[in-house]
């Protein structure tokens, strides 16, 4: 689940640009993953151990796994486990950044290690701890903004990332939030939540991204933009907001009210104060959530 935030971590360290990151997201299906990287990610080998094996590999024409076992860095069972595991999305993206020449292999290994350390991840985190970690990562996204973010928005966003995984797919990367009083929206749905506090949420994307987004959401392959694609954007927003209301009602006994979703096309979203724009990159395109507080 934390994989999605590794891209944002790279942005925050200024080691890649958003354009380089988006290119890597789009190319993540090209898989040339290195075993050493998988071993570091799984916590089985250190960067130094991997480097030692790589140096030996440069001199001897032997497989990485074979040398790692010989050095007693890995057992045969651990190697077998690594070879059959599903490769996390952020490793695929990291490898693309290396292949494209934006990061060195060593730099990527070190960044993965520091990302895990700085965020205190453990491989044993239970479901509650995972949600706490996710909320902490959500907060870290907003450290670059000067705007005061209300507590309920962090809850909203934590649920949103869970719902994106659940209904659209986990192969996304949140980009840096932007503050703006205006935003041109292509295909867009908006919904007002009001009551004890008020929040207007919009979900906006370009036509091609909308077709792919709706196909994933509805589990049906849409070939072109149509009324169902348009409705899918609003339905996702409506589910997210409905579930948010239920959570807030259950956890804090606060009753909020939803207004019907409004579908908009080619509209300028504007506000007298800053809106929060949160772009989220998927391989099929970027979707943007816009919040008016």
């Amino acid at each position: 689940m934390y994989a999605q935030f590794f891209g944002n971590y790279l942005l925050s360290k200024h080691v890649v640009t958003p354009e380089q990151l988006i290119q890597a997201i789009e190319e993540q299906h090209i898989r040339h993953i290195k075993l050493g990287l998988l071993a570091i990610h799984a916590g089985l080998m250190t960067v130094e151990q991997v480097d030692k094996v790589l140096i030996r590999q440069a001199h001897e024409n032997r497989r990485f796994g074979e040398l790692a076992i010989e050095e007693k860095f890995l057992t045969e069972e651990q190697l077998a486990g690594l070879l059959k595991q599903q490769i996390p999305v952020y490793l695929l993206i990291g490898e693309r950044l290396v292949e494209n020449g934006f990061l060195s292999e060593t730099q990527l290994e070190e960044l993965i290690t520091s990302y895990q350390e700085e965020n205190h991840f453990t491989h044993l985190a239970n479901a509650d701890e995972q949600q706490e970690n996710l909320q902490a990562l959500t907060r870290s996204l907003f450290m670059i903004t000067t705007l005061h973010i209300p507590e309920y928005l962090f809850k909203y966003l934590t649920l949103l990332f869970n719902n994106l995984v659940r209904f659209i797919g986990d192969d996304f990367l949140p980009l840096n939030p932007i503050l703006s009083s205006e935003h041109v929206a292509n295909h867009c749905s908006g919904q007002i939540i009001d009551g004890e506090f008020s929040l207007t949420a919009y979900l906006e994307m370009e036509e091609d991204a909308a077709v792919a987004f709706a196909s994933r959401f509805a589990g049906t392959e849409f070939k072109e933009f149509n009324e169902y694609v348009d409705a899918a954007i609003g339905d996702f927003l409506n589910w997210q907001n409905g579930l948010f209301n239920v959570n807030i009602s259950n956890e804090e006994s606060v009753e909020l009210f939803l207004n019907p979703v409004v579908n908009l096309q080619n509209t300028m979203l504007s506000s007298s104060s800053d809106m929060i724009l949160l772009p989220i990159a998927y391989p099929f395109g970027t979707i943007t959530f816009v919040f008016k507080l």
Binding site: F167, A214, A218, E227, Y228, A231, A232, G234, D235, N238, W239, N241, G242, L243, N245, V246, S249, N250, E255, L258, N259, P260, V261
Partner: protein
């Protein structure tokens, strides 16, 4: 009553949600399906056709689901209304039942939930 004689009304402002409900209902062998994109249309279609079962969203423009349940219950106090809604706090569920809804499904729904309801509500008549 045979499945082909059953009439079902769907009220939801999302054309995709109506399609997903319709697909689940059609898979059950029912083809007489009416659909409304707001509460007012749902009330008018109910009055005209008196369907056997109604699936209604709470969040609709023009007239919302709660108002539509009230008016349909005035037309027919025995109306079979199932709420399928994104809104599902305890108080919203309670209100829907007080108005006369028979069941409540929170979105997102699985088609299995819809066919289970069809089996239960239409048992004996289909």
């Amino acid at each position: 009553m045979r499945a082909e004689d059953v009439t079902i009304l769907i009220g939801d402002n999302s054309v995709l949600a109506r399609k997903q409900l319709k697909d689940a209902i059609v898979s059950f062998g029912i083809s007489r399906i009416l659909d409304a994109s707001n509460g007012q249309e749902a009330i008018e279609l109910y009055q005209e056709h008196v369907p056997d079962l109604v699936f209604l969203s709470l969040l609709m423009p023009v007239k919302d689901g709660a108002a539509a349940i009230s008016e349909i219950m005035e037309i027919n106090p025995n109306a079979d209304i199932i709420v399928v809604s994104s809104m599902g706090t305890q108080s919203q569920i309670k209100q829907a039942f007080q108005l006369g809804a028979k069941e409540f499904i929170q979105k997102p729904f699985h088609s299995q939930q819809i066919t289970d309801i069809l089996r239960t509500r239409l048992e004996g008549s289909v």
